[in-house]
């Protein structure tokens, strides 16, 4: 075991170990709520739009997308994907969805949480919460699950305005107001379903905590601009979980504050997440959850990942004190989380569209040498902009890119060996373009 630890080139944050109990607690709460027949929601990641309202109403959300990452990491997802295919679902659909469809089929077949399901499995839902945000799977998938669960499905709105026009203030106003009105509808839906009223004081207290978590988590990621980068993407992927799912919880805030202190201490002492940072990279977009050890191999070569997964980063803090209108306050934040990178990129005149914008922003701000993309066989949303992002970074900033085909869940399509074979050539490319950038007056 000690020998195994010695081999790892990424120095994980000690405080990242504090996250595991939070995640365990989240899963335990879900399992317990199921056993005690308290309301459980299967919920999509919804960028904080609906979770906190559910929590304030006494509903315990469980997150099939996150469950998909756990099943992938433990190698269980492959079995569930096979079951999904046998049910007639195409195999190109979202890997998380296939995992959940397979899991649900097994659960219905066995009449209980399936044997061998990790983390205590997911308890039977009282209702399911979809989001329009980002991808179609977020509502199509739960719609599909209606054949297994005779429970209501609610879908939260999520406007997708044009990224590049910061002048459309009236559009932003319309969008936020629409989301706020729809959140009132969601509250009415919950009150009707649960036969109880929303405790707005409780919601406000939870929101206050959540917003503090967002701020600390943002500041932690800002610290990663330091050279060497003090926190690797591996730690980001571990630590993004509580921010997404349990930001309302004071324990989450306490953990993030400890993480902040540790990252700050690393910055102050010039300590990097890997021993010898030769290259600073960004990673697009979602990692191979089943093969995260791959990043240690890259770390051994001096590759440090300073930014990643644009859709999962906290946006910069904004003034959220929207008075007593809590749905409006929630809507503003979720909307801001979606538009902030495009908004900033447009203001700064960055020549990119779509998800290339955050990668452009980061390339400049984090002094990036290369972009590593991971096109996913089962996720078009996370993959669509990869080629464009690589083009933009290469053409506008002389930053080269490399791709590794794979998947978030399906481990059979990930070819680490080929990727590692390409690494030396890509390093030469990064070295070359570093000189080109310098010759053009860029400072990295």
């Amino acid at each position: 075991m000690a020998e195994e630890k010695k081999k790892r080139a990424i120095t994980r944050l000690e405080s990242s170990a504090l996250v595991r109990p939070l995640v365990n607690k989240m899963y335990m709460e879900g399992a317990l709520a199921g056993m005690e027949e308290r309301p459980v929601a299967w919920s999509m990641v919804n960028w904080w739009e609906g979770d906190i309202i559910m929590r304030a109403m006494g509903v315990t959300p469980v997150y099939p997308e996150n469950f998909g990452t756990v099943c992938a990491a433990l190698g269980i997802a492959q079995k569930y994907m096979g079951v999904s295919a046998a049910e007639g679902f195409p195999t190109h659909l979202c890997g998380y969805a296939q995992n959940t469809i397979g899991y649900t089929t097994e659960m219905k077949r066995e009449g209980k949480v399936p044997e061998g399901a990790p983390m205590g499995g997911m308890a039977q839902p009282t209702f399911m919460l979809c989001s329009e945000g980002y991808c179609d799977a977020r509502f199509k998938w739960f719609q599909s699950l209606r054949q297994f669960w005779n429970v209501p499905v609610w879908t939260l709105p999520f406007p997708h305005p044009v990224y590049t026009d910061p002048s459309l203030q009236d559009v932003h106003k319309v969008n936020v107001e629409y989301m706020a009105v729809e959140l009132q509808g969601f509250i009415a839906f919950l009150e009707n379903l649960l036969k109880k009223k929303l405790d707005r004081d409780k919601l406000e207290a939870m929101l206050n905590n959540q917003e503090k978590v967002f701020k600390v988590w943002w500041e932690i990621n800002e610290l990663r601009k330091a050279k060497p980068c003090p926190m690797h993407a591996r730690d980001f992927w571990t630590m993004m979980v509580p921010c997404f799912y349990t930001a309302y919880d004071p324990e989450t805030l306490a953990v993030y504050q400890q993480v902040y202190n540790e990252v700050k201490a690393r910055v102050d002492n010039g300590i990097g997440a890997i021993p010898d940072e030769k290259y600073r990279l960004v990673f697009a977009e979602l990692p191979p959850w089943h093969s995260l050890g791959f990043f240690d191999k890259l770390a051994e070569r001096g590759w440090n990942f300073a930014a990643e997964s644009a859709s999962y980063h906290p946006p910069p803090p904004m003034e959220l004190n929207g008075g007593g209108d809590l749905p409006y306050r929630i809507a503003r934040w979720t909307y801001w989380s979606y538009i902030n990178t495009g908004y900033r990129a447009a203001k700064m005149g960055y020549p990119a569209v779509g998800a290339a914008q955050p990668y452009y922003n980061w390339a400049v701000e984090y002094k990036i040498d290369g972009i590593l993309t991971h096109p996913l066989v089962t996720c078009r949303t996370a993959t669509f902009w990869h080629t464009h992002s690589m083009n933009v970074l290469r053409d506008k900033l002389d930053i080269p890119g490399m791709s590794i085909q794979g998947d978030i869940v399906d481990l059979t399509v990930f070819d680490a060996a080929t990727a590692l074979n390409q690494a030396p050539a890509f390093e030469e490319s990064m070295d070359h373009f570093r000189k080109v950038r310098k010759s053009k007056g860029l400072d990295w």
Binding site: E87, G88, F89, P90, H92, L93, C94, A97, C130, E132, Y134, C135, D136, A137, F139, K140, W141, Q143, S144, R146, Q147, N150, P152, V153, T155, P157, P159, H160, P161, V162, Y163, T164, L168, D170, V171, V174, N175, Y178, V181, E182, G185, V353, G354, P375, L376, V377, R380, T381, T383, F384, W385, H386, T387, H388, N391
Partner: protein, 382 residues
């Protein structure tokens, strides 16, 4: 263009870009658009000819791979590819729409590559709650505002009402045309029908309606229509921009007599309700009445009722067109249709109508394995 009726539709289908270039040369302003969601009534009210941007199953994708990965919807990749090759150079201005996730992203990337002087992106919600109609209408108002700013013209509400009537009249003609396939044998083949629909998507509304009237008269009088065959099929699924799949099916012992695809009934079927503010009728039509699986329909008390809400209209088609089998087809990587497959298949099973699911690559090649499966299916239902 000198040809008339079916021959004209066939000519346009064979060379739609050519016809659009002719229109442009005649002084028509061309507004390109994607999917069935942009409100074409507003476009024609501003004196544009709306032309739907589509891909080509026949043209290998050679340029778009430098912009989008290969696991993205092949039709959208093809559309970008054609644009990058200058084969959609007739498009002057462009309306995008958030129909599915990939289409949303495609529109921004398409504009990034094509740099149209006018680009408007219509943010269509996936839900049809009460507030969503207001949101949709606000989106149309913004579209109006940007279009007026670009053209320097005002959108006249009375003109818009006239355009609504004009488009509804064309929709009525399309429904009449589809009605000619109710009888057995149908008076029109599925391939001919798709050619006509694709032609309609490529010419101005007045020209299209004139062509439809000619075709209806011609088809009613024709003696050389399709032969009676064992299978009367309904075709469901993702858009078809070529007739190759229907040709393949109809080369067997089957007639395709009805469809639920967005280059067919989905695009043309529902009328716009005449409302005092025409934008209200347009918002309802495009958000709710237009039936595409990209819109989430509210859940009901059971999955079976959900199926009725989602697919009941197709059951009506199946009944009225007396079909004895359904071909469910989707191009690979179309998530919107992919998620529907088990539910819609189960729905037709419950109705006692056999169905077959085909996934294809949006190319003319590789249809042979599908043909074998369709052949077996037809034998089974015969």
């Amino acid at each position: 263009m000198s040809s008339k009726g079916l021959a004209k539709a066939k000519d346009i289908y064979a060379n739609r870009a050519g016809r659009v270039r002719e229109l442009k040369a005649e002084g028509k302003k061309i507004m390109g658009y994607v999917c069935a969601y942009p409100p074409l009534e507003m476009v024609t009210a501003m004196d544009y000819a709306p032309i739907r941007v589509i891909g080509s199953m026949d043209e290998p994708i050679t340029k778009a791979d430098t912009q989008v990965p290969s696991i993205i919807c092949p039709m959208l990749r093809s559309m970008l590819d054609l644009g990058m090759k200058g084969k959609a150079d007739f498009v002057e201005d462009f309306i995008g729409a958030h129909t599915c996730d990939c289409a949303e992203k495609f529109c921004h990337l398409y504009q990034h590559n094509m740099q149209f002087p006018y680009y408007h992106f219509l943010d269509v919600p996936h839900i049809a709650h009460k507030a969503s109609f207001g949101f949709m209408k606000a989106g149309f108002q913004l579209f109006q505002k940007t279009l007026e700013a670009h053209t320097g013209k005002k959108l006249d509400p009375d003109r818009l009402k006239q355009e609504v009537k004009k488009h509804n009249a064309q929709r009525a003609l399309v429904r009449e045309l589809y009605g000619l396939r109710r009888q057995d044998p149908p008076l029109l083949s599925g391939s001919e029908n798709l050619q006509i629909m694709l032609a309609l998507l490529s010419i101005p509304i007045e020209e299209g309606s004139g062509m439809l009237k000619d075709i209806i008269a011609e088809v009613k009088a024709r003696k050389d229509g399709p032969k009676k065959k064992a299978a009367r099929l309904l075709l469901w699924g993702s858009p078809l921009t070529e007739t190759s799949i229907i040709d393949m099916i109809e080369s067997l012992n089957a007639n395709v007599v009805m469809d639920d695809i967005c280059t067919g009934t989905r695009h043309f079927w529902p009328d716009v309700e005449m409302t005092s503010d025409p934008l209200d009728g347009l918002a309802k039509r495009y958000l709710d009445d237009l039936k595409c699986p990209r819109t989430f329909r509210e859940t009901t008390s059971s999955f079976e009722e959900d199926q009725e809400v989602r697919f009941g209209y197709i059951k009506d088609y199946a009944k009225e067109w007396n079909v004895n089998g359904v071909i469910l087809q989707s191009m690979k990587y179309c998530d919107t249709h992919g998620y529907e497959v088990p539910a819609i298949k189960a729905y037709f099973d419950r109705l006692g109508i056999p169905s077959l699911y085909l996934e294809h690559e949006y190319t003319m090649v590789a249809l042979a394995p599908l043909k074998t499966r369709v052949e077996a299916f037809i034998e089974m239902i015969s």
